[in-house]
């Protein structure tokens, strides 16, 4: 929906400029509070430098950093053909120009996120905990939701908002640390020089403290409010892409019923994930501070869309479930007048249901993404060889059979594949 895209692009620019001014103001106040009378200039310059460096780094390599910090590894199509096929199907449905890169994170918690400033270069990451739990339709719903975030330029906007939040938090922290350490020496030094600007000095100091306390709070509230609306819209777009809202609904159910915590999430990256990675207990005031809308609500809205999968139907379901009449979907989405029927579920081959088989599948997948290779012994055991194993002989742990390490030979053209 072009309004969303334009809105996101516009807001990103405003945020970029507004953030700059805000940071410069913060730098000015802190500099003036600490090192009068020339401190203001250095405060502004430091803020300017921090802002430029963080902006450039985040804009150009923000997605790489996010992927790296979550431990995601890129995979090729033969590592998990079904996931690859699902993403390609969604790429066709969403009219993306290029196939997104697919990453897998080694985490037991089921979750997923997408990065990418534009559809031309985007990436989707899922955890190893997600893949065995969901069937094809559910996985497709999750992928469609993530792709919608990229399509609506949410990722672009959230990157800027995230930088802003990070900058403000960083500078506030610096300020409080500086105050802690410099309380002794510099005050004596300062009071000798600024005998006349005493009152103005104190005022600026107070402004600085108040700003430094309030700014992170305000920024967080804003950040969370923005990301909540985006989640609803991504749900609506995802349901429309798949023509099967039930798939996304049951995927959200399965993900939210898992108790495992995601080890690599923090407050800035949390909104990027499909379900809030922080498993808060049911707190009533959590709605304002939460990065995602309440998941029961999201599931209810999707499940009540049996009449159709268009944006108009999502808007109706949203109004019916939440009782709010706020216009969630922008006008261009509401031009979806032709009725969009929900399709039938896709029948698929039954997956290995036993817990042992599931655990084995996850283990193999994890080892594949960490570049382990597999070797089958004569006794039938599948040996997992670490990537840097350089000893000349491999000994089977079950039958003690010795064999030559085939991966040492430089000229070996064939690679062992798992059977």
């Amino acid at each position: 929906m072009w309004e969303l895209i334009q809105e996101n692009k516009r807001k990103s620019i405003f945020l970029f400029i507004g953030m700059g001014l805000c940071l410069l103001l913060l730098g000015y106040l802190l500099g003036a509070a600490f090192f009068p009378p020339n401190g203001a200039i250095s405060g502004v310059s430091i803020a300017l430098i921090i802002w430029s460096v963080l902006s450039l780094v985040s804009f150009f390599s923000g997605d790489q950093i996010l992927l790296a910090t979550s431990g995601a590894k890129e995979i090729s199509s033969d590592v998990h053909p079904q996931l690859f096929n699902i993403v390609e199907e969604m790429k066709i449905a969403a009219n993306l120009p290029v196939m997104p890169k697919i990453y897998i994170m080694d985490e037991a918690a089921p979750n997923a996120f997408a990065t990418g400033r534009s559809p031309e270069r985007c990436a989707i990451a899922v955890t190893t905990g997600l893949l065995p739990r969901l069937n094809r339709d559910e996985l497709q719903g999750v992928i469609a939701h993530e792709m919608s975030h990229v399509l609506n330029r949410d990722v672009l906007f959230m990157t800027f908002a995230g930088i802003l939040l990070g900058c403000i938090v960083l500078i506030s922290n610096m300020f409080f640390r500086g105050m802690w350490y410099s309380s002794g020496s510099s005050r004596r030094y300062r009071s000798g020089r600024s005998s006349d600007g005493g009152k103005g000095q104190a005022l600026i100091f107070i402004f600085a403290i108040v700003f430094a306390i309030l700014a992170p709070i305000a920024a967080r509230l804003l950040y969370f409010a923005i990301s909540r609306r985006r989640e609803y819209l991504a749900d609506a777009s995802g349901a429309r892409l798949t023509r099967y809202p039930e798939g996304l609904a049951s995927a959200l159910e399965k993900i939210s019923s898992s108790d495992v915590e995601l080890t690599s999430a923090n407050q800035v990256t949390a909104p990027m994930y499909i379900v809030n990675p922080f498993k808060e207990k049911r707190m009533s005031f959590s709605s304002v501070l939460s990065t995602h809308p309440p998941i029961e609500e999201r599931i209810k809205i999707l499940k009540s869309m049996s009449g159709g999968a268009s944006y108009v139907q999502y808007q109706k379901a949203y109004a019916a479930v939440t009782g709010k009449s706020s216009q969630l979907i922008p006008p261009s989405g509401l031009e979806d007048q032709k009725e969009i029927p929900v399709r039938k579920a896709v029948p698929e081959a039954p997956k290995p249901q036993s817990v042992k088989d599931q655990a084995r599948a996850i283990g193999d997948l994890t080892r594949t993404i960490y570049d382990y290779t597999f070797l089958t012994c004569v006794c039938g055991l599948k040996i997992k060889v670490p990537p840097d194993f350089k000893k000349p002989k491999i000994v089977c742990p079950r039958c003690w059979h010795q064999m030559d390490n085939p991966f040492l030979k430089v000229a070996a053209p064939t690679s062992q594949t798992s059977s």
Partner: protein
């Protein structure tokens, strides 16, 4: 003198907006053409997968010679179809033949456990999905284009430059939409 400048500015603004709308109409129409060729790409992918499928199934399904022959025939018909109408019909026949083969495979448990066959089945089912999504995407692009042509004010520009409505990709078999008639006589 200033009136002249104002009129000039207004004319420039109008020309720029007309150009903008015209370009977006062209862009949308090209999207429609692009999504149509995407359907053809996925159909071709299905054609290429079928010989592989037949090879892997042949050893196991001794009693299904007829089904396999029908599938081969349907595939060659679909490849040689020329006009859009012929293609649509031939692809429908091919889908039917594939469906019948998949149903008959249910009776052969060793085939269903074969890794190679399972991988092929996933590829085939994914290709069917891709064809469906390509059609869905085509219809979405057609909807966006038709909306832009018919809604005010871009319809004025569309009509002056002779942009015509595009056709949706409807179901070939209209009987699928009919409600079955139940009679208690």
């Amino acid at each position: 003198m200033t009136v002249l400048w104002v009129v000039l500015a207004v004319v420039v603004v109008i020309i720029l907006s007309v150009v903008g709308v015209f370009n977006s109409l062209v862009g949308l129409r090209n999207q429609v053409k692009n999504s149509w060729s995407q359907i053809e790409v996925q159909l071709k992918r299905r054609h290429d997968l079928i010989p592989n499928l037949i090879e892997s199934v042949k050893g196991y399904v001794q009693h299904e010679r007829g089904t396999l022959e029908n599938l081969t025939k349907a595939r060659s018909q679909a490849i040689s179809a020329q006009t859009v109408g012929e293609k649509a019909k031939a692809e429908g026949v091919l889908s039917g033949a594939l469906g019948r083969l998949m149903v008959s495979v249910e009776n052969y448990p060793d085939l269903k456990a074969n890794q190679n066959f399972l991988a092929l089945q996933e590829e085939l089912s994914s290709t069917e999905n891709r064809i469906a999504f390509a059609r869905q995407n085509y219809n979405d692009q057609v909807l966006a284009f038709n909306n832009k042509i018919q809604m005010f004010p871009s319809n004025l520009i569309a009509n002056s430059f002779a942009f015509t409505k595009e056709e949706f990709f409807e179901l070939e078999d209209k009987t699928e939409k009919e409600v079955p008639k139940v009679s208690f006589s």
